[in-house]
């Protein structure tokens, strides 16, 4: 499990007043353990730009995944895109990053977007590039080795134009963005959070009225990190030992959720279960501790909160301002699953707790399975490898 993997996060701000975004990001995983990310910025804004960039990103990512050459990709895009009736051109700029985890190298192909920023060891490093002319278009091509904690930032020109004529005369330039992101490097944010922070800064410079579609895609190279989470007692009480032994046999961090489940885990480990009375958040029940377990929390209420954080993470991620520092069980699980983990193993016990069938309670407890299913779906969308075992 020492191999590297790529943590990818992106989000867009729409041009003020537009419902559709003219920038598109497309991510495709290839069989040979590599991943292709395409960021395309369509000419203009609104529907037309959206169609151009969607076509561009999908065509390129699909063709790259099919191992076609860059020349072929660019030719196809140039000949496929509908020509704009006003401007007489078909046009979408793009950035392609292909990470090969096995070869530990990145291939970057850029056409007219702001150049990709690479932050390595906390410092902005220029990426050497060769120039190609394909179909009359100047294309930059680079191939470099990747190292753990490398952060690649690709963006549409909306990011570098942020603040033009408002907070700044000429917008903030690529160098300013690189400096800004250097400051964020050390803190261990996820790719998604880094992209959110940069976009938020752009939005601030635009005074909340972006003059252009603005997209940031961050790709962070990291080591694989497994985390296992057990929730609920098994439906057959005889399976407790089997479930716990499988759970604790997994390498990496361990999270135990649920009152009964933590009691069972404590019994299995033959260690005391020590509940705390500290309410770090009024909504979330307090945590407990068991020697040998990284985190012990209450079950459904906590996981329900984690799910809402996960859903927001996939959108504008504004709730990272809560979960990234708070000390309650849900925030701690969110940090471990969203930030630390790359591979997550869920052990779900399907026993029904009779007390949870009480219709007076404000939330239905039949939702345990649904919570886990939805949470795994969200985590998969975050690019994590998920395994779920039911007992």
């Amino acid at each position: 499990m020492t191999e590297l993997c790529a943590d990818i996060g992106y989000y867009s701000l729409n041009k003020f007043g537009e419902e559709l975004c003219g920038d598109q990001v497309s991510v495709i995983e290839q069989e040979n353990n590599s991943i292709v990310v395409v960021l395309a910025d369509g000419l203009g804004s609104g529907v037309k730009a959206c169609i151009l960039s969607t076509l561009t990103s999908k065509i390129i990512s699909t063709m790259m995944a099919g191992k076609m050459s860059v020349e072929d990709c660019v030719n196809t895009v140039a000949h496929t895109l509908p020509v704009c009736s006003i401007r007489g051109v078909a046009y979408s700029t793009f950035t392609i990053i292909r990470i090969s985890q096995a070869l530990r190298e990145a291939e970057i192909i850029q056409y007219d977007n702001p150049n990709v920023i690479l932050i390595r060891n906390g410092k902005n490093v220029e990426i050497p590039a060769t120039e190609l002319i394909i179909d009359g278009k100047k294309i930059l091509k680079s191939k470099i080795s990747i190292y753990e904690n490398d952060v690649f930032i690709s963006m549409s020109d909306g990011a570098t134009y942020a603040g033009v004529g408002k907070k700044m005369n000429f917008g903030w330039q690529r160098d300013n963005i690189a400096k800004f992101m250097e400051m964020m490097y050390d803190i261990g944010f996820t790719a998604k959070t880094l992209s959110t922070i940069l976009l938020e800064q752009c939005n601030k410079l635009y005074e909340n009225e972006p003059g252009d579609d603005t997209t940031v895609c961050v790709l962070k190279i990291r080591r694989r990190e497994p985390v296992s989470l057990v929730v609920g007692p098994p439906s057959n009480p005889d399976d407790v030992k089997k479930m716990m032994s499988l759970f604790f046999a997994k390498e990496g961090k361990h999270i135990v959720c649920g009152g009964t489940t933590s009691t069972l885990a404590a019994e299995y480990l033959d260690k005391p279960l020590v509940p705390s009375l500290d309410y770090h958040d009024d909504e979330i029940p307090p945590m407990a501790s068991i020697e040998g377990v990284d985190l012990v929390t209450e079950g459904v209420i906590t996981i329900n909160k984690v799910l809402s954080y996960a859903q927001n993470y996939l959108e504008d991620n504004q709730s990272y301002k809560e979960w990234s520092y708070k000390k309650d069980g849900a925030s701690k699980i969110a940090r471990m699953l969203f930030e630390d983990a790359t591979d997550i193993n869920f052990y779900v016990g399907m026993a029904v707790n009779p007390a949870h069938q009480n219709p007076d309670l404000p939330i239905s407890f039949n939702i345990k399975m649904r919570l886990v299913n939805e949470l795994s779906a969200c985590l998969r969308k975050m690019g994590k490898t998920i395994n779920v075992s039911y007992f």
Binding site: G259, T260, P275, E298, I301, A355, H356, L361
Partner: protein
């Protein structure tokens, strides 16, 4: 004297936080920090009758709205008995 309050899902929703806070305030008010030891406890298997608490080894159910009067009635009297 040991008081354990259930902080499991069901009791949490029924208001164990309020019970804990009320008890902690009462303990301070009556200066019983040295006499009463409060702790949390996961599910006591009596969720239908939450909020569940244990005073030493005896189980009780507390309605959060009546936590103050419960404290005066059940706990203060017990403390006095112990002291006498």
């Amino acid at each position: 004297m040991k008081i354990k309050v259930c902080i499991g899902s069901s009791c949490h929703l029924k208001g164990s936080r309020i019970v804990i806070q009320t008890f902690q305030n009462q303990i301070e008010k009556h200066n019983l920090q040295d006499v009463i030891q409060m702790s949390g406890q996961f599910c006591m298997k009596n969720c239908q009758n939450g909020v569940c608490i244990m005073i030493d080894d005896k189980a009780f159910s507390v309605n959060p709205a009546e936590a103050d009067s419960f404290f005066e009635k059940e706990i203060i009297t017990r403390v006095k008995v112990c002291n006498d």
